[in-house]
Amino acid sequence: MTITNDHRRELLMDRSVPGRVGSSFTPLDVPVQAPPPSGMLRNDLDMPEVSEAEIVRYFSQMSQFNFSIDHNFYPLGSCTMKYNPKVNDEMAGLPGMSEIHPNQPEETVQGALKLVHRLQTYMAEITGLTGTSLAPMAGAEGELAGMLMARAYHLDRGDANRTQVLIPDSAHGTNPASASMAGFDVVTLPSNSSGNTDMEALRAAVGENLAGFMLTLPSTLGVFDTNILEVIRIVREAGGIVYGDGANLNALLGRVRPGDLGFDVVHSNLHKTFTQPHGGGGPGAGAVMVGPRLLPYLPEPVVERVSDSNGVERYTLAKPPKSIGKMGAFHGNFGALVRAYSYIRSLGKEGVTAISEDAVINANYIQSQLKDDYDLPYDRTCMHEVVLSAKSMKRDHGVDALDVAKRLIDYGIHPPTMYFPLTVEEALLIEPTETESRETLDHFIGVMKTIAREAQENPELLHDAPHDTPNTRLDEARAARKPDLRWRPSAE
């Protein structure tokens, strides 16, 4: 039996009352024209009829059912939930940025193209690579672009047999999915007990079929692979492309550049490292940077600065000579690019370089304070995030990572990433970011210690958590078994 007793949750279509309107109607100011043939017209348009004030209250109340960075500590591992500066939103919302049309002639959007060109340059500089395309609209699309470039590179050289892509077992799921969409066979590579690449497994796996290696650095275990130069040397000598998943780039800013390490291609999630707000699941932006080998294959467009015969400079949208093609209908998520640009300019060289220091100190501080209360699968210096485990807690008290995560909600803290990486049992992946204060971290540490105590003394409290949310734990199995994916008129 289901109960719907919360009026605030009523859906728009159920609130609909014939005759109500939610917006004002602009009158037609031209003569009425001949209508289209009636057979082409729709008879019915069953959309909501709700007043403006009701819509505002509905969505405002709904918003309060969310945790968000602006309201809560949000240490979601590998997601880099850092503070999103407000001025960036205002810059993206300037009419000269938000109202310009993607099909405008280039001479009328020189300011926009200049901004994109500058951001391309900054991203190449930060990652130590040669060329940038800001066309991909999400991190996963940046991965797809990167792997399509790897494919085009090998095919161009007549290496059609290079079909295998190595991916560590700790990788984010988008890596194997992207490699697969780019036509590659995925070979999963184990990590060793320190969280580094298993070198023997790597040596055994590389061969003449090797197309490339997709590596997240630091890894999703929160550690910097100390064998990285050797790993890259082996892959390159075997003829493979070295792909860097920049999801964790926050840890490297100003500390080391992937291009200097030997990566051929890196994507950066501008919504993580460069503060495009996550928006409840997007929009993102997936800048992709490449070294010389892949430069001709960049997705289009890229912005180039050219001089005309009079020496007057202008910016132009260009197609790289062997481009893998377009990743979207237009030029990428420009609104996100304005925000990333604003962020990099606000921090400048000094600020960008300081990000990684604070992010890494914060994560190591959490690790040092919680390693006696939770299992620490990799007891070494971590980078910007730390993976803990509730394995012993589960064995001793029947309380698992899910229970810990849900109990954190009762304390007003968003849960860490849980059960990921897949290679760590009962994983809790914690990424504090540089924008959290020592006081916030101390509060979190205190709460985590309290929860560890509660697990011993009152495990039921954790099993039932969270307690004060609009919903208690939801039945996900039922949702998948009997999919209810949309409003339908009630049977009555």
Binding site: I55, N66, P105, I324, F334, G348, A354, E357, T381, D475
Partner: protein, 443 residues
């Protein structure tokens, strides 16, 4: 004056905080935390500009914005995949709430019911608008929706050819080509007078209206697609569905669309949101995030991400797609827009577009030297054959503070694709016609 050594307003910890934390960690210096990085490559000097204060940043970005010619200051008749509409204030206000804006993908449903229920509303309204059974929570944009629809059709039918009607936008076609290059699908073009489908054709892709604005005979195309067992994949302009037949009525199997037209500013091409809807029987092949209704431990209704076994974080290399984002915030904006316009408003805006575009066409058609080469029914875009190179006409229109239509002379001799929406006033339309008359006459 006090020292202005740069201190980030976004990072709270002071040197004293860092010192205390490093002591707790048990290291002397932050340098020790980075010792896993090869020493000779550590701490590169980045060639980036110096920091800007918020005041300085605003000046810098506003100067670039001022270098752009902004529709609104200029009359603008561009469309072709991105459309200017009036966006009610509540769209930005509600989507700008930081509870929505600064939340992550709703992996923890108990603290994401706001996002999840909004996504469910989005799915519901997309279904209402298209008439389809189910919809997902959103794709990157309309073009990647269409490319993913092609991949889905190939998966579903286990066929390898994709037929694309020749009136589909070149930009959409390019994105389909990007997404299908690796699986080795064969993309080929068909025209409405010769729909050549084989028993290996996975789908027939049709854009409605077509790139040049023309409305296709969808019933006939649908029948022909289904006759060979191909899926009928439609890229529909969502705004056109305010007045024209929804794709379900001509038996579309997969319907996609560019959601930008539903309340999203043009923003030089993104972020937008792709609509993606299909028949019930195909849901397990659908890409993207999907929100479902369920109940909690106390029997109360609530929402979760569902059918996740299709997705990359579970299925990895065997996922239906690598997609990870649903462009949640933009989907929310279009949800609020659809709610605000509602039953009457969506039809009204669509009709304003229709009548204004036809009024513009009727004026331009009368100008000596200009003609309308296509005779089909159109919605809010139409092709004008100009007496001279449309690029030249557009240059001269700019001098008159008009951004003209898209140059489509590669498809139609001296062709210009002109779009009118409700934001183009009668005054602007008549000014355009007057200007075209002057420019054409000056040949």
């Amino acid at each position: 004056m006090e020292s202005t050594k740069f201190t980030s307003p976004y990072s709270p910890n002071t040197d004293a905080d860092r010192r205390a934390m490093l002591d707790s960690i048990g290291v002397d210096s932050v340098v020790e935390l980075f010792e896993d990085i090869p020493a000779h490559l550590r701490n590169p000097v980045l060639d980036l500009p110096s920091p800007l204060s918020e005041f300085e940043l605003r000046h810098d970005v506003e100067a670039m914005a001022a270098e752009n010619t902004t529709p609104g200051d200029y009359a603008c008749f561009l469309g072709a995949g991105s459309y200017r509409h009036y966006v009610p204030a509540i769209v930005r206000q509600l989507a700008g709430r930081s509870e929505f804006m600064t939340a992550y993908t709703p992996y923890q449903p108990e603290v994401a019911q706001g996002t999840l229920q909004a996504h469910y509303e989005f799915q519901s309204l997309v279904c209402q608008l298209t008439g389809m059974d189910v919809a997902n929570a959103g794709m990157y944009d309309g073009s990647t929706s269409l490319a993913e629809a092609a991949l889905m059709a190939a998966r579903t039918t286990k066929r390898s050819q994709i037929a694309v009607l020749d009136t589909v936008s070149p930009a959409l076609l390019r994105v389909i080509e990007t997404y299908t290059q690796a699986p080795g699908l064969d993309i080929y073009s068909v025209s409405s007078d010769n729909i050549d489908l084989s028993d290996d054709t996975a789908c027939l892709i049709v854009q409605q209206p077509g790139f040049l604005g023309q409305m296709e005979d969808m019933e006939a195309l649908s029948t022909q697609a289904h006759a060979t067992g191909a899926l009928f994949v439609v890229s529909a302009d969502p705004m056109s569905l305010g007045m024209f037949k929804p794709p379900a009525e001509y038996d579309a199997d997969i319907v996609v669309g560019e959601g930008q037209t539903l309340g999203i500013p043009p923003t030089y091409g993104g972020p937008y949101v792709g609509l993606f809807a299909c028949k019930q029987k195909y849901i397990r092949q659908m890409p993207g995030r999907i929100v479902g209704k369920t109940v909690d431990t106390q029997g109360r209704e609530g929402y979760v991400l569902t059918l996740q076994t299709r997705e990359q974080h579970i299925r990895r290399e065997r996922a239906t797609s690598n997609i990870c984002t649903s462009v949640g915030l933009i989907a929310l904006m279009s949800t609020v827009y659809m709610a605000a316009q509602g039953r009457r408003g969506l039809r009204h805006v669509a009709e304003l577009c229709y009548h204004k575009a036809h009024y513009a066409a009727s004026l331009i058609e009368q100008i000596p030297g200009y003609s309308l080469p296509l005779q089909d029914t159109f919605f809010r875009e139409f092709v004008v054959q100009c007496p001279i190179d449309p690029a030249e006409i557009n240059r001269r229109l700019l001098e008159r503070k008009i951004i003209g239509g898209l140059d489509v002379s590669d498809q139609v001799l001296n062709g210009m694709l002109i779009c009118c929406t409700e934001v183009n006033t009668r005054e602007e339309i008549e000014k355009l016609a007057g200007a075209l008359s002057e420019i054409g006459g000056a040949k």
